[in-house]
């Protein structure tokens, strides 16, 4: 009787041993399978990231910037650039342009208005022009571009960078203004990328951007206007005038006369 009981107990113990061993072996397989699965998933994620990155239309912009650079350079070459300001510091009139990198009217102004202003007033020493990027268009790309644009100012390449982007804009509603496009614009503008990255990452441009936003609010509200881009604020010895929207050279000339005692 006791022998039978002992044998039964032994059998149960042996069966438990076998089950435990099997469970242990299964766990090892499971651990290996989990590690392999994680490695495969990591590889898939990296491939997806590379694929989605390379499928963007960044290279299109790089080509556009390269082909348009001679036009921008022709307009800006020989004109002194000091940070955000284009033109001789002693000019009696300053024209501040509040712009958004994704604003289509700002893009149109870069084609139709800015080259004429540079030729007629900046190059001749009558006025300076200052870029002040703001965030008006929905989404965060305008702000990212504004910070990137301000970060080119210490290298005196902001005008090249800005005009290249404004003149080659994508659709306002599309997320075309990626970091790669900014990189391409900076590289085409002759920006030292390492220095630019360093400035762009600092708090300095962020503070500058906030100050510009405050100035934009005060300048437009003082004139009884809305915060819209482009806004041209013309400062002169006799005061300040504000012109907004799809502006013509004649409107700017009139504003210059207004702030300079009738002279342009």
């Amino acid at each position: 009787m006791w022998r039978a009981r002992a044998a039964g107990l032994h059998a149960v113990r042996a069966r438990t041993h076998i089950e435990n061993s099997r469970e242990g072996a299964l766990s090892k397989k499971a651990v290996i399978a989990v590690i392999i699965a994680a490695i495969v998933v990591a590889g898939v994620v990296i491939v997806i990231q590379q694929a989605t990155k390379s499928s963007s239309n960044d290279s299109t912009y790089a080509k556009q910037f390269t082909s348009d650079y001679p036009n921008v350079a022709k307009n800006l070459s020989g004109v002194p650039q000091n940070g955000q300001v284009l033109g001789a510091a002693k000019a009696p009139i300053s024209i501040v342009e509040y712009m958004d990198y994704k604003c289509p009217v700002c893009g149109a102004a870069s084609h139709n208005l800015v080259p004429a202003l540079v030729t007629d007033y900046v190059r001749t020493g009558k006025a300076t022009m200052e870029l002040r990027p703001v965030h008006v268009i929905q989404g965060n790309q305008s702000e990212t571009a504004a910070l990137a644009g301000l970060a080119t100012a210490p290298q005196n390449r902001m005008w090249y960078f800005t005009e290249l982007i404004l003149r080659n804009q994508g659709n306002e509603l599309d997320p075309w203004l990626t970091q790669a496009v900014l990189n391409d614009a900076a590289a085409t503008s002759g920006v030292n990328i390492a220095q630019w990255n360093q400035v762009n990452a600092g708090q300095g441009v962020a503070t500058q951007f906030l100050n510009i936003a405050n100035d934009f609010a005060s300048d437009t509200s003082a004139a009884g206007d809305q915060e819209a881009t482009p806004t041209f604020v013309v400062h002169g010895p006799k005061g300040t005038a504000v012109v907004q929207g799809d502006v013509t050279e004649a409107q700017i000339a009139k504003a210059m006369q207004q702030v300079n005692g009738g002279k342009v």
Binding site: K28, A30, L147, N200, A206
Partner: protein, 151 residues
């Protein structure tokens, strides 16, 4: 002995839960700043905004920080339950996290040329969580060790 193993497993899971909560804090901050269009406050060197705005900061349009947030929430859930599958799930997430963190660190150093301290913090946290996952699995497998015959 069984009690000691159970107690060890408990403290390993507590440590993992604490690290997961820190990871949630770090990644949630980055997600918050991203969706509000702000540059993250960066103490050392100031590369956070550059990394956060880089073309490598998303995978198929999904921000990497958001993926990290989901991973840490998953790791917290795994730490809170004592089951074997949770230990395996924790291992899966941490191996994946360490590999992707290594890849992102490579991108920061050699492609973006900027270091994001939040990303580095997350990489350290996920590495520690991987160690804890291995310790936890070791404890779980010890609990399954066959009872020696005659004992």
């Amino acid at each position: 002995m069984g009690f000691e193993r159970g107690a060890s497993d408990f403290w390993v899971r507590i440590a993992a839960a604490v690290l997961a909560v820190i990871g949630i804090g770090v990644t949630a901050y980055l997600v918050w700043e991203r969706y509000h269009g702000n540059a993250p406050v960066c103490g050392l060197g100031g590369g956070c905004a550059t990394v956060q705005r880089s073309e490598w900061s998303t995978v198929a349009g999904v921000p990497v920080a958001f993926m990290g947030l989901l991973a840490y929430v998953g790791l917290l859930a795994c730490a809170l339950v004592p089951w074997q599958w949770a230990a395996l799930a924790s291992l899966f997430i941490t191996v994946l996290g360490v590999m992707l963190s290594a890849y992102l660190t490579y991108l920061e150093l050699y492609q973006i040329n900027a270091i994001c301290e939040y990303c580095v913090t997350s990489a350290v946290i996920v590495t520690l969580l991987l160690v804890l996952s291995i310790v936890r699995l070791t404890l779980v497998s010890r609990d399954q060790t066959p009872v020696p015959e005659g004992s």
